[in-house]
Amino acid sequence: MSASGDPSLLGPYVLLILVGFLPNEVWRMLGVVLARGLNEESEIIAFARAVATAIVTGVVGKLVVFAPGALAGVPLAGRIGAAALGVAAFRLAGRSVLAGVTAATLAIVAGMLVVGG
C-alpha cells in the first residue's frame, strides 16, 4: 500500500500545501520581489507602511465588531467598552502595551462573567 492510496492520510497534507501554504506565501514572495531596489526613505515604503497599519487596525475593528465564537457572548457595547478601557490603561501606564492588553482582557472576562452569571 502506498501512502497516496489513502486519501484520509495524504489528503490533509496535500490540501495544507495547495490551499494553505501557497495562497498565503505568494504575498510574502511578491513582497520580496517588490522590495528589491526600494530604500527605507522612499515614499512607496511610507505608503506601504500606512496601508499595513490600516489593515492591522482594520483586522482589530472587525474582530471587535464581529466577534468570533465565545466572544460573541458579550454584547457589542461591552466589547467596544473593554477595548476603550484597554486604551485608557495603555495611556495611564505611559504607553504600556502590557497594561493595555491586560486591562482589555480582564474587562472582557468580567463582561462574560456578568453576561453568563
Binding site: 505568494v26 522590495a35 528589491r36 511610507a46 490600516a54 465588531v65 465565545a70 484597554g86 495603555f90 502595551v97
Partner: protein
Amino acid sequence: MSDPPPPVVLPLPYGSGLFGGLRAGATSVFMVVIVGSYVSIGALAHDLGFPLPWLVLSSLLVWAAPAQVILITALGAGAAPFEVALAVSLSSMRLLPMVVTLLPMLKTPRTRTRDVIVPAHLTAISVWIEALRLLPKVPRDARIGFANGLGACFMGGAVVASIVGFGLAHALPALLVAALLFLSPMSFLMSALRNARITADRVALAVGLVLAPVLAWRAVDLDLLWTGLAGGAAAYAAQRIQAALR
C-alpha cells in the same frame, strides 16, 4: 560645516544578531499573545479532527494565525478547496505591504535576494510590529540575524503552544478560550498606538479601525484591501497637508 555626527546606535539590552533576536522575542509582550492565540488554534484543530503533525506543519508553513483559523475551520467543515484557498489568500494580503516595508530595513549593499527569503517567510503581524520597533537600534549588518531570531522565537513559541492546546482541548474552559481570542486584537491595537509617532500613522490607524467594520457590515467584498488603500491614501494626504502648512 563639520562632518555629520556618527549615527547614534542605542545598544539593545539583549544584544543584536540571531541570539539577540531570540532573546528579544522571548521577552516580548507578543510572546504571551502568540502563546494564547496558538493554544486556542491547537484546541480548534483537535476539535475538528486534524492530526497533530498537520497542525505543527501548518504553523511552520503558513505562519499566519488568521489564515490558519480559516484553513482549519473551512477544511474541517468540508468547504470546497478553491474557496478555502481564496479565503486564505484574501486574509493574507496584508503580508505584502509588511514584507515590502520590512526588507529594506534589513538590506545592506551586499545582501542577496536569497538572504531575505527566510525573514520574508517569518514575517507575520507580531514579527513585523516588533521588528519595526527594534531594528533601528540594531547595527545594519546584524539585522537579518536579529529578524530571523525574533521570528524563529515567536514561531517556536507558537508551535509549542499549539501542541499544548491540542492536548488540553477538552480541559480548556470557555471563558479562557474567549479571553485568548481577545488577546491578539488588543495587542495589535496597543502596539499600533505605541508605534504611531507621526500624523500619517495615526490617520492610517483610525481609518482602519473604523472603515473595515463598516465595509464588512455593508458586505463590501475585499473589505480589508479597500481599508488598506484608503488608510494609506489618507495618511499620505495628511502628511502632504501637514508639510504644506509648515
